[in-house]
């Protein structure tokens, strides 16, 4: 049996390599180790630019929040969580979650997920490193080693389970023009902007290119070339099909919606995705964060796109959400007090979302540190009570099933919150 399986795998892989294997064979191949146990998948979302967590997950039960933000606070919810059925939600006020926290009104599409306990929120979470540099903080969060600049690879790459024999060339995939820091490392990982564009237009040219990259003197280009052509072979079969999201899910227009739609397509095509990554920029709101009301202005617009895309992904994935966890992060939070221009400057702790069928959602996790002057980090920012590696570490251990996360977050021992 096992010999036969190995034979099947080897010969089929030869075909996968040149892109002639039929889809069913690829599926059988990568499912060969356990057709009943489907692969667990982790999708990481990075909000680049430092999202203002206090206006995303609004501590409306905290009086100091309203004192610190006279012009850009999100108004208190008009309906509390228990009575949500019988009254309309005020489009300009926070949407109550638990009597203390509420969602920004633009995130209304995510409220049903919270209610169905498929969305958990972690608050006052982030990186313990004190930097307020976007670049360094993103780098630390993606490398998974705050404060250490020498780390060469990313936490997602290290979190890929050790390959048992040959694995899917698209097991780690990022949507966008560059491979993010989180995915760089020894294990193959690919970046793509669009599934359809992921090919060489001419077959003969493709063959010659493949040969050139196989023979490349530069080891990085040689390895990336090999990964590329293996992935091309894998994706060929799904390029021809027009993708239609399930259950009438509507992704918002724009790069982020496109990214999540294609991640859904890849997962549902069973091509062997285990880790996926997408990012959304534009969160650096130093000026006029809010418009005339909470549901207007740059933050509201961005959150609308963000929330709609996540909700569409959830709807589109349907039952497959049982295998998937989506986790979101941003490099740091923003000042608790608004600055001089109805915006916020670089701060410290933030919030994270964890969404999935197996998530113990409907709850805001983490310890609330308060917003009184003496409770603030360095007298100005939301203090940190949960390390982001506690969240990611738990997902890597309990969702992906990695026996030890020591290698993923070296030098740190994550404390699980019980999210999954």
């Amino acid at each position: 049996m096992s010999t036969r399986r190995i034979f099947l795998r080897n010969s089929a892989l030869a075909m996968v390599g040149v892109g002639t294997a039929p889809l069913w064979l690829k599926r059988a191949l990568y499912a060969a180790d356990g057709p009943l146990q489907r692969q667990k998948i982790l999708v990481a979302i990075f909000q680049r630019g430092a999202a203002d967590g206090l206006n995303v997950v609004v501590p409306h039960g905290e009086k100091a929040y309203y004192n610190l933000r006279p012009t850009i606070a999100i108004p208190r919810p008009t309906v509390d969580a228990d009575k949500r059925q019988d009254a309309a939600i005020d489009p300009d006020a926070a949407i109550d979650l638990d009597g203390f926290f509420g969602l920004h009104p633009s995130l209304a599409p995510l409220k049903p997920l919270f209610d169905r306990q498929q969305l958990a929120i972690v608050d006052a979470v982030g990186s313990p490193d004190p930097t307020r540099s976007h670049f360094d903080a993103q780098d630390y969060m993606e490398s998974g080693t705050p404060g250490l600049k020498a780390t060469g690879d990313g936490w997602m790459n290290r979190a890929l389970p050790k390959a048992q024999g040959k694995v899917s060339p698209v097991r780690a995939v990022s949507l966008g023009p560059v491979l993010p820091r989180a995915m760089r490392g020894a294990q193959p990982a690919i970046a793509l902007q669009s599934i359809d564009g992921f090919q060489v237009r001419n077959a003969e040219a493709a063959r010659q290119f493949q040969q050139m990259y196989t023979d490349a003197r530069d080891p990085v280009l040689r390895a990336t070339g090999r990964e590329t052509f293996e992935a091309v072979g894998m994706l060929q079969s799904i390029q021809k099909q027009a993708y239609k999201p399930a259950a009438g899910a509507e992704y918002p227009r724009g790069r982020f919606g496109d990214s999540l739609r294609q991640i859904a397509q890849l997962i549902k095509s069973d091509v062997g995705v285990e880790m996926a990554f997408a990012d959304i920029g534009g969160w650096d709101h130093h000026v006029n964060e809010l418009g005339a009301s909470a549901s207007q202005g740059p933050l509201a617009n961005l959150l609308r796109e963000y929330g709609q895309a996540l909700a569409a992904f959830w709807q589109d994935m349907g039952d497959r959400m049982q295998d998937v966890v989506v986790v979101t992060m941003s490099e740091f939070g923003r000042t608790a007090q608004e600055n001089g221009n109805r915006g916020t400057d670089h701060g410290h702790a933030n919030s994270m979302f964890v969404m999935g069928g197996g998530v113990k959602g409907g709850k805001v996790y983490g310890q609330w540190p308060g917003l009184e002057k003496e409770q603030l980090y360095e007298g100005r920012d939301l203090a940190l009570t949960t390390d982001f590696r506690d969240v990611l570490g738990e997902l890597v251990a309990r969702h992906i099933g990695m026996p030890s996360v020591k290698g993923v977050f070296p030098g740190y021992d994550p404390k699980f919150l019980g999210l999954v």
């Binding site: 670049f135 560059v178 690919i190 290119f209 000026v287 221009n341």
Partner: protein, 459 residues
């Protein structure tokens, strides 16, 4: 106890890693002292100081003499510009307009962005002053502005033309001040709205206006000292206080720099340990610029960034130190810093030669140059550069684009480069005609395959 175990673990990892790293570094280090053969010197110069060699360029450099050619490139005003380029740039109407003229004539953002990006590609492809174009791209990226941020759409053209371009081989202090006082930067990093505690408050609006530390932080982190350059949050805040009142007159129609005394925070400040007494007005900000422009961290940070672009991703510290020394000795004379680099052994070493991955702009421009392309419209090329991951003038973050090779090596990016190579050589890029003889047999679908090869992605 547990903390101690973790600490020991960290230490062990650190030592293990550094032992490995130092061995690897030593090997890389040796590569920077091995000189390239003589016949590779001209290719090395053309690869690094231009947007890629055109057919015949090497011969021409040989005829002039490499040393003289480099000297000329460092003095672009002595090189007659290509008349073909001037003619092509003339068709891009907004390139010579001021911001207020754009507003008056009702120009739209799309057109301004298109002219800028097409202009950059045309210059990269056609200019005889190649190093000047490379440096313009380098310094614009260093002092990056995002064209799509509000009023910046009418400011970026003047910014590149009037602030960056004339100063890329001048004194760093001048370049820095020109950016600090440009409406484009004041708007992009929000300083124009940052005011001191005694600023008059607008009536009829709730809340108050005050300090904004965006520019103060990026000035230190990205423009001068570097993130590890030795400053604190307090220094960021103090710098921001010094720049209050540096604002824009008429920001919605191009704008001009103006110092508004009424909103300046005129109290005492201490920046990087230097006391800036109360009552300094506009000169507070200038003092901050004086301090950072002459700071050893800045000398080092700028030198390293230049060496990363022109020499190698991990330039040897011996070289960076010498460049930084020149920077400090010459009051930040950027031409002298370049000269120190170009005279160094490291620049002409095996460690540097063909070690860098081309950025998307470098790849696209060098491909057109390699095939002696005739560009009627650069619009499609602009889109290509964007598709490869580098939309010109549209990097939202103040970091600008990374110049590290690894940033540009990934599956999707390589495939896009291969497809571009085939399109270009097959004469399928609208607006561009390439020399068919260079592109192998006509109708050969694999023509241009060399431009998609691993070798061509590096320079």
């Amino acid at each position: 106890m547990r903390n101690r175990v973790v600490l020991a673990l960290c230490l062990a990892m650190f030592l293990g890693e550094s032992a490995f790293a130092s061995k690897k570094n030593a090997e890389q280090g040796r590569q920077f002292f091995k000189q390239i053969p003589k016949d590779q010197r001209i290719p090395q110069a053309l690869n690094r100081l231009t947007f890629g060699p055109r057919p015949g360029d090497a011969r021409q450099v040989k005829a002039i003499g490499l040393k003289k050619w480099i000297d000329l490139q460092l003095h672009p005003e002595r090189i007659p510009e290509n008349p073909l380029l001037d003619a092509k740039l003339k068709t891009l109407d907004t390139l010579n307009m001021s911001g207020s003229e754009m507003v008056r004539k009702g120009m739209v953002r799309k057109l301004v962005a298109r002219d800028l990006a097409e202009g950059k590609l045309l210059r990269a492809i056609y200019s005889n002053r190649q190093l000047d174009q490379v440096l313009d791209d380098f310094w614009f990226n260093h002092f990056n502005i995002f064209l799509d941020k509000g009023a910046d759409r009418f400011m970026v053209t003047e910014y590149e033309r009037g602030v960056i371009r004339p100063r890329v081989l001048g004194k760093f202090r001048d370049l820095l001040e020109a950016t600090a006082k440009s409406p484009a930067m004041l708007f992009y990093l929000d300083n124009w709205q940052s005011v001191g505690p005694n600023a008059p408050q607008p009536r009829g609006r709730k809340g108050s206006r005050g300090l904004n530390e965006n520019y103060g932080r990026e000035l230190l982190e990205l423009h001068t000292l570097g993130v590890d350059g030795g400053y604190t949050q307090q220094d960021v805040t103090e710098a921001a206080r010094c720049f209050t009142g540096w604002t824009i007159d008429q920001p919605q129609s191009g704008g001009t720099f103006v110092f508004n005394k009424r909103v300046h925070d005129d109290g005492d400040k201490v920046f990087l340990g230097v006391k800036i007494p109360a009552g300094g007005g506009e000169s507070d900000g200038e003092k901050v610029l004086d301090i950072v422009a002459r700071h050893p961290s800045t000398a080092h940070f700028i030198s390293r960034k230049l060496a990363m672009r022109f020499v190698a991703d991990n330039p040897p510290s011996s070289l960076v130190d010498r460049m930084a020394q020149t920077f400090l000795n010459t009051d930040g004379d950027l031409r002298e810093v370049m000269l120190t680099m170009l005279k160094s052994k490291e620049f002409w070493s095996e460690g540097a030669y063909r070690s860098k991955m081309k950025s998307p702009l470098e790849m696209v421009a060098s491909a057109v140059r390699a095939l002696n392309g005739d560009v009627d419209s650069a619009f499609s090329l602009v889109n290509q550069v964007a598709q490869l991951g580098q939309p010109l003038y549209r990097k939202q973050e103040p970091t600008g684009y990374s110049n590290a090779s690894q940033e540009w090596v990934n599956a999707g990016g390589l495939l896009a480069r291969m497809n571009f190579a085939l399109h270009l050589a097959g004469n399928h890029v609208p607006g561009v005609k390439v020399d068919a003889a260079k592109a192998a047999k006509p109708d050969d679908p694999t023509a241009g395959i060399g431009l998609g090869s691993p070798e061509f992605q590096k320079h």
